[in-house]
């Protein structure tokens, strides 16, 4: 995802001279081509993320389209006040791109984990939150964000993730993409855990459970039509994300559901626990600690699905 972002940014910057890149002293070599082609539009803002975000807002208020980039916790919670006041309150077109979403940088410790950022950012008025599922969605999301007249947060994984899409899907902000059809269960995922959600759906097929997989790449605004369809047509809707079960995609859908009233489907939220991870280990290890591997997800969905069918039989 990271490399797809850098390549697409380079391409778009060649088409639109309003695009400016601000990096928080990160991306060694990643932006060499950008720097070479557009030296006046690349800024290494140092390890000073709050100033970087305020600077980007001032640029966006003066006719530019800045893209602000560093590791998720530092481009979100570290400068949340600047995102809220300078970017969102002024409603200016700053595209915030975070690399290392969720547990991507598990080994670097919880300072570098980001399992709360979706919650923080979707709470802000005027903010759009997009979590691309793979390199293809990353490319499409960046183009959509830079064409959008307001703040956008794009949450990336790292690099080398498997592709979810074989070819470019139609991509619109706020419009979910069905990645796999299915009628029993709808797995609605967002971001870098979507390939795992797809694997889980394949495992469920082995248990004769037909699982639809939806990429809800835009967590704000939610695609309420896709949600309504999923809750009306399936017995179970499961959210899957590399983010806390509080405040993220699952939280957003739970809010929507509470307002909407009883539906055919029950909601189950799968995500990280409300705790910091203290142990060392890689991303796969960290995911297993929270039950976010394909086996655990499939097992969890299967038992909840059977329970839901049981509930249905007794009602």
């Amino acid at each position: 995802m990271r490399d797809a972002f850098a390549r697409e940014l380079l391409r778009l910057a060649g088409l639109d001279d309003r695009i400016v890149m601000l990096s928080g002293d990160i991306g060694n070599r990643l932006f060499d081509d950008f720097k070479a082609r557009f030296p006046s539009r690349f800024f290494n803002c140092g390890v000073a993320e709050a100033n970087m975000m305020g600077t980007a807002a001032g640029m966006a208020a003066s006719g530019l389209r800045p893209v602000v980039y560093t590791i998720v916790p530092f481009v979100t919670t570290r400068c949340l006040e600047q995102i809220r006041v300078d970017v969102c309150y002024h409603n200016v077109p700053v595209t915030i791109v975070g690399v290392g979403g969720g547990l991507s940088y598990a080994g670097l410790g919880a300072t570098h984990h980001s399992c709360e950022d979706i919650g923080f950012l979707r709470l802000l008025p005027n903010m759009t939150v997009i979590c691309p599922a793979d390199a293809i969605e990353t490319r499409l999301a960046l183009a959509a964000a830079l064409a959008h007249d307001g703040p956008v947060y794009i949450r990336l994984g790292k690099k080398g993730e498997p592709l979810v899409h074989a070819k470019d899907p139609e991509f619109r902000i706020g419009k979910a993409i069905t990645v796999r059809p299915g009628d029993d269960v709808a797995i609605i995922g967002t971001g870098n855990l979507l390939p795992t959600a797809l694997e889980a759906a394949k495992l469920l097929a082995g248990h004769k459970v037909s699982a639809r997989v939806v990429s809800m790449h835009t967590v704000k605004p939610l695609d309420v039509d896709a949600l309504a369809a999923a809750f009306a047509s399936c017995a179970l809707v499961v959210t899957v994300e590399e983010h806390s079960r509080i405040g993220g995609l699952g939280g957003a859908i739970a809010e929507w559901l509470a307002d909407r009233g009883p539906q055919r489907a029950r909601l189950v939220r799968i995500g990280t626990d409300d705790r910091f991870l203290h142990e060392g280990g890689d991303q796969d290890y960290a995911r297993r600690q929270f039950g976010l591997d394909a086996q655990s997800i499939a097992q969890s969905v299967l038992s909840q699905y059977r329970a839901a069918l049981g509930d249905g039989a007794t009602s």
Binding site: S40, G46, G54, G58, M59, D86
Partner: protein, 276 residues
């Protein structure tokens, strides 16, 4: 002592009218921060009459110079200055702080022409102004950006992040004015965060820093018009001011950070400022 030129006498009169208006606005809206507003009036007058290039009827022009009042709690001072300068109608000042007013106690984005940024949370104006100045450079527009900070605001780390970055970028179109009235909300700013030596701090951060009398409009204009005094360096004026300036019983009395003038105090203040 030489007699100031007539132009400066007119600006002093404008500053007195603005100050009288501020006391009245605070009284009528029951709004605090009067002392902070009074201390920065001469900085705003110097900038709006002697430095900034703009067309009062077209404050959206891409080429205009920009001023951000980063000490947003003194918003009334900016509103009254914009009115005195003919950028917004004077009648609007009567709505200050009222329900539904376009003049909130602290500025909202673009609430009236001339408001370049919504401030109020301290430490935002300098990074924002820095972004505006960089945008001017990237777009080939020759405008300058002036940011007015309070000395208490210099407690905020973002001020110093922006200072370092502006210096690294050799951003000579950026100029800051620090309203060095020596007080912050609840005490002497130098006791709370050891700001001194403030000029030397800015110098150490790569800025061209100048100490000025923040109530000498002529000197302020002269220093502003030297910008960029040093090629490749942003400029900061450390403007020595008096909190509550212009009203004898408010001067250097930090109670007026929050106090609201009553009817008698309003009349006394207006009389001192030559407005009856």
């Amino acid at each position: 002592m030489t007699t100031p030129p007539a132009g400066i006498m007119n600006l002093k009169a404008a500053a007195a009218r603005i100050r009288a208006r501020l006391v009245q606005m605070s009284h009528e809206a029951r709004a605090p921060h009067l002392g902070s507003a009074l201390s920065c009036v001469d900085l705003l007058v110097a900038a709006y009459w002697g430095f900034l290039r703009f067309c009062p009827g077209n404050m959206d022009d891409d080429t205009r110079d920009r001023l951000i009042l980063s000490k947003g709690h003194a918003a009334a001072a900016l509103y009254a200055t914009l009115a005195e300068r003919g950028i917004i109608p004077s009648e609007l000042l009567a709505t200050y702080g009222r329900d539904g007013s376009s003049l909130p106690e602290q500025m909202s984005p673009g609430c009236v022409p001339g408001v370049e940024a919504a401030t109020g949370s301290l430490g935002h104006g300098l990074p924002f102004g820095l972004g505006m100045a960089l945008a001017g450079r990237i777009r080939g527009l020759p405008y300058r950006v002036c940011v007015v900070l309070s000395d208490g605001e210099c407690n905020e780390g973002t001020v110093w992040e922006a200072a370092m970055f502006a210096a690294a970028q050799k951003l000579e179109t950026l100029v800051a004015m620090v309203d060095r009235n020596g007080w912050q909300a609840t005490g002497r700013s130098n006791d709370i965060m050891a700001l001194d030596p403030l000029k030397e701090k800015w110098q150490a951060f790569g800025w061209h820093a100048v100490d000025v009398d923040g109530h000498d409009i002529g000197q302020l204009i002269a220093e502003l018009c030297r910008v960029p005094a040093v090629q490749g360096k942003p400029t900061v004026l450390i403007a020595r001011t008096v909190k509550g300036k212009g009203v004898s019983f408010m001067e250097d009395d930090n109670n007026w950070h929050y106090r609201i003038p009553n009817v008698q105090e309003l009349a006394a203040a207006r009389a001192e400022l030559g407005q009856t």
